[in-house]
Symmetry: C2
Subunit: 458 residues, 2 copies
Amino acid sequence: MIFTKPTIPAGTRDFTPPEMIRRNYIFSNIREVFKLFGFLPIETPAMENLTTLLGKYGEEGDKLLFRILNSGDFLGKIDQNLLIKKESHRLSNSISERGLRYDLTVPFARFVVQHRNEINFPFKRYQIQPVWRADRPQKGRYREFYQCDVDTIGSNSLLNEVELIKIIDMIFNRLQIRVNIKLNNRKILAGIAEVIGEADKITEITIALDKIDKIGKEKVIEELIHRGIQNESIIKLNPLFEMSGSTVEKISFLEKYLVDSTTGCSGINELKTVFGLLSTYEIKNSVELDLTLARGLNYYTGAIIEVKAIDMEIGSVCGGGRYDDLTGIFGMPGVSGVGISFGADRIYDVMQHLNIFPSEAESTTQIMFVNFGEKETEALLPLLSKLRLAGVSTEIYPDPVKFQKQLGFANANHIPFVALVGEQELAKGLVTLKNMNAGSQEQLTIDKILERFKASSI
Amino acid sequence: MIFTKPTIPAGTRDFTPPEMIRRNYIFSNIREVFKLFGFLPIETPAMENLTTLLGKYGEEGDKLLFRILNSGDFLGKIDQNLLIKKESHRLSNSISERGLRYDLTVPFARFVVQHRNEINFPFKRYQIQPVWRADRPQKGRYREFYQCDVDTIGSNSLLNEVELIKIIDMIFNRLQIRVNIKLNNRKILAGIAEVIGEADKITEITIALDKIDKIGKEKVIEELIHRGIQNESIIKLNPLFEMSGSTVEKISFLEKYLVDSTTGCSGINELKTVFGLLSTYEIKNSVELDLTLARGLNYYTGAIIEVKAIDMEIGSVCGGGRYDDLTGIFGMPGVSGVGISFGADRIYDVMQHLNIFPSEAESTTQIMFVNFGEKETEALLPLLSKLRLAGVSTEIYPDPVKFQKQLGFANANHIPFVALVGEQELAKGLVTLKNMNAGSQEQLTIDKILERFKASSI
């Protein structure tokens, strides 16, 4: 037999222990904060019926779904002509009824409708699971990646937006990543489009405005003309180009600018409520109004949220907004929700780049006992038990091999303490404890060891 | 548009919050114990190349693999004749190159070979991920389910077996499930077959022996004859039928019985070492030798381990053993390993049946504040912040709706405490705290609330 080195599919990843420990550090911080705010976990299956998934992500999205081949004799009932014509697209719908989850939003909507009678609304749920997309793999873009979603559904209260922003603040504080939290509101964008007489051109206007810092006012105007905005509309837009100052100043400017648009005024009132509540909430990161935020304009109906890392140039690390009809696609209309999603892969990249993973995210074992042979091992087992019952991660090297080899293992696995209990130590009831970082060592009684590590593990 | 109630594929499951909280209780106990023993986490992709998976689970297993349809124009290069003949089986290999993970063992073997230069051997890894099998769905059998595997690879030391048994003991102690831990050793079974002159009939002999309690000695002998065991061999087997007593007595009996088989003696020595080490290790559950344990006879080469719940009739809740050539299938021979796998779904069923989930596995939020309106909410936010910073899961009902509705929500979500801060309380700096289980209520200062919940969350 000839063996080739095994590989995994393009765009997927193995996670080795050092990567897993750091990833788990991120996930458990995110999960803990979700729980601290009273959000409840759900999980949905990796596979959904294609009827659930198709048509929800646009034509491009449909192409990016991973489809599961039906089991058994899947060709049996297929029309011969379809096969001869080699119509891959039409055939795939006949030989495949299930697809892999593409995001957590559509499965969540399906879940809410399916379990509507078991759910207590307002439903505050979080969901941390992988999703799959048949995208062309490239640096930083994977075919399997985790999403961490948190949503409140069935409540119109703006307190929900405020709680989500506080969640963002607390998570990034914990991870020690400095961020800018940017807020926008679709109603304000709609108001602007209305006020300048281009109600149907929200997206074009927002996208053009987004470029003002990069390309300047002149070029933006060129682009607006190119995108079919009337001259007199552009003139009405002019005051917006000049808008500056703090968020408070911007809001007060917009309040006058949008006075003739009911939608616009309602957007302003929402912003004022949100910023008002935030001001009593000790937010550590900056939260600012950003009119150019155009994320998800085709489904968000109120707040739009985006979070950028300050100390590294990278896409957004978190984003979301309010949607008014998530479950309508499954026949349950009029349920409003608001949610955000954290990008664990980007957060990982930021933390690696800034080298801010704490040392507890580098290892799991706190103390490794050297293996001197069967007699010494047997004497050690009760101590191992006690340490573990006290919550101290403890291991003993499994084979009585050379000391240097065992030390090398501890070193490679970043284990901070190595304990030696040879014949001499055994006779005296002592343990020689080696601090692998400091290089120092000392002799302690077994009770002392227990005491010291117990304290450090709490 | 007509909507039909959305569903999920047969054999898959949604997990609602109450289920998730209980499942997470099981998973986090398992994970914590793995960590306490110094095992390191890995994760592998949901999809593997079919070349990795095919032929590893027998012909039946190949049929149970979920295959991913290739993306794009997958029929383009397919031979027309193959299509016209409708050969589903041959075609599926041409239009699908990837499949979903069927277990965690083969991906682990692939991982070890692929990352051999990054791994520090002996490699102690754990892996908790879902697997997928296109089995016919039935009660208790799912097409998507989690496996919790823990293995040490690259060490022959029997200390590894002992550590795994201690892990079993600790996990089931934590979950408060009483279990019988059953041990066998393939070398002993091989020794028995050798001693009676039927070296190639290990499996037949073990399976027949397994039935002695159910069908009695006479029927077992009938079955052995039926399975082609010679008469004189069956006579030699006779003393085994009479074997009884404690594990120590059984081992001492087998030591004499197997004296002429090198393999058998080696198996006995292994058992003696394992039971010897276990005796100093304060194992709370019973560990016994069970010669009829035939689990995985075609791949286990030494220890065989199986765990049964005492208080509920259900299949094994954990099992495993030693294998000598896991990575050989991927071209890296001679690496010995030993591992076990916990069945989270069965453990869940046992705990539900015995009603032993602790109350902390019923809810996440510890205290819910009633929403009396914007002014009261604004005043409360700093307190919410403080409670969360102290590790207390806290929420506020998002809308200022009727008190009874808010109370009903807390009740439905099993939230143990509800706090009321209305206008009166606000003026006095007091909080009315309602104990939802006891039905009692009391007024406390904000500092007192903080103090009480802080203490309870540690």
